[in-house]
Subunit: 307 residues, 2 copies
């Protein structure tokens, strides 16, 4: 069994338009790198974090809390050290904390010879996620650990479904460098919603799952609608409507808020279209004066990868 | 081209627990028989109805209104006569009016050499359905015309998705001979629902569609939950909770209200289990003093059949 491992832990998109709180998918080109090694000293230490300023104290770090949740479950006469090379900006809405939490428990599980299933790792990683968001949820953790598209059927007990996805599906993302407070993105959500809108939303969720199973891009496009959450949250993201309009004009199948924002995702058939969509997004934000980054990525069907 | 056709137009189950207003499936052993023949006289006449007392005037009959919607769309120098042998009791909650409306347009389309697609037939049949329910909806018409499990993604324009279903899936139904007024079954529905319940419901709809694609009976079972509508409507159906409890104890994957009731459906893996479920349902109602009928049926993957 190896004593050290280096992994790539990907960014993820949660919610995916109609699938608020349940759907997510995994990205390929954006992610953190994490090095974990066994140590003679028991317990768990984070020895280095690069990229963004985050606490080294495991109890204050999502990767640390996730790791400790796992290590509290197992009896070992040795410990672990971790280095985190953070590439995903915290608060960007593409699963930064999930990448750290998922990568942490994935890497430790590998070094232990995989005693835990991915469902169990999801459970541990959710403890870390809760440190960042205040709630144990798996909508970013599931796609990071399972890869591809995932549907979180339930959080307690955790039940993740692995959905297939068409091979030529690409995501385009824009991350406007603004801060949306978690409290704000929650506060705008309604507690009650009209039954008629809920029906439209679950028709779209069912249609989206069917479209993924049947490689039906046209259906996927028509199912990528969020009539419930987006109308409330889009006001927190400057130029959201323009980004969406221009993305679709550039050929995107659909466009929506990534997680609770501020990042915006679009899905496209084929890399060329995804790049046209990226250009259309850049054109909108270039005029805004707001700093931003864009990414194009294949859907990552594997999830976390060993480097 | 033939001048006369006899068809079997099946009963159907709409809503299917979590899939309120969008999901439905088709039954095999219960249905109306309809005979349609060309006539030299133009227009459309219903010459005979057996089984239940229903109006012969096409404008007052769902099969007639559906037929006229089709015939108004096409120029013919001949007409049609129809005989309806009604086996499905109107108001039973298993798509009685849909069977008549769907069968009517299906049969005429066959005699015309199939100028219309099933989506177009759905559109015409919905005009008939509207006479019975006051609303144009396709949640019983779609499974009758397409067979199997269907998801009505939208009503205007009509978009029906054909979902696969596991081969060993059987339905058990109990029809308590009570009347639920459509106005009552609508009046109990909330206009607003909690967002959290809506999320649970669309997680279940997505899971149900995935379960149908993957032949996953266990997932199908856990997805067959209705947290939104059933709590409001079950009070209209005597002994609903007992039927549900005993069905599941007898091995059913799930149990819910068929359409807007009063019929109750259960789904099971295998005919033997479906028959045990039938017995458990009969045991509950035998003590009630309420007259009832039960049925066991394979999922009908074809829909309407030519006899």
């Amino acid at each position: 069994m190896r004593n050290e491992i280096k992994i790539f832990s990907p960014a993820t998109v949660a919610n995916v338009s109609c699938g608020f709180d349940v759907l997510g998918f995994c990205l390929d080109t954006i992610g953190d790198e994490i090095v974990v090694r066994k140590s003679k000293e028991k317990g768990f230490r984070i020895t280095r974090i690069e990229g963004f300023e985050l606490p080294l104290n495991p109890l204050e770090n999502v990767a640390g809390v996730a790791a400790l949740a796992l290590l509290n479950d197992i009896n070992l006469d040795f410990g672990f050290e971790m280095e985190i090379y953070k590439k995903i900006k915290p608060g960007s809405g593409i699963g930064s904390s999930s990448a750290s939490a998922s990568g942490s428990v994935f890497a430790i599980n590998e070094l232990l010879g995989r005693p835990y299933t991915r469902h169990q790792l999801t459970h541990f990683a959710m403890k870390g996620e809760a440190l960042a968001s205040g709630i144990e949820h798996a909508d970013n953790i599931a796609p990071a650990l399972f890869g591809g598209f995932t549907l979180v059927k339930s959080n307690a007990p955790i039940q993740v479904l692995e959905l297939p996805s068409p091979k030529a599906l690409y995501a385009t993302l824009i991350h406007p460098e603004i801060e949306i407070k978690t409290s704000d993105s929650r506060a705008v959500l309604p507690k009650q919603i009209p039954l008629q809108l809920a029906i439209t939303q679950w028709a779209n969720v069912g249609s989206l799952v069917h479209a993924l199973h049947t490689n039906d891009y046209q259906l996927l496009s028509s199912a990528l609608q969020d009539v419930v959450i987006e109308p409330y949250r889009k006001g927190l993201i400057p130029h959201f409507d323009s980004i969406k309009k221009q993305s679709v004009l550039a050929g995107a199948l659909g466009c929506g808020i990534s997680g609770s924002g501020p990042s915006i995702f679009a899905l496209s058939e084929g890399l060329a279209t995804a790049k046209s969509v990226e250009k259309s997004m850049r054109d909108v934000y270039s005029k805004s004066g707001i700093p931003f980054n864009t990414y194009v990525s294949k859907i990552n069907s594997k999830g976390i990868k060993i480097l």
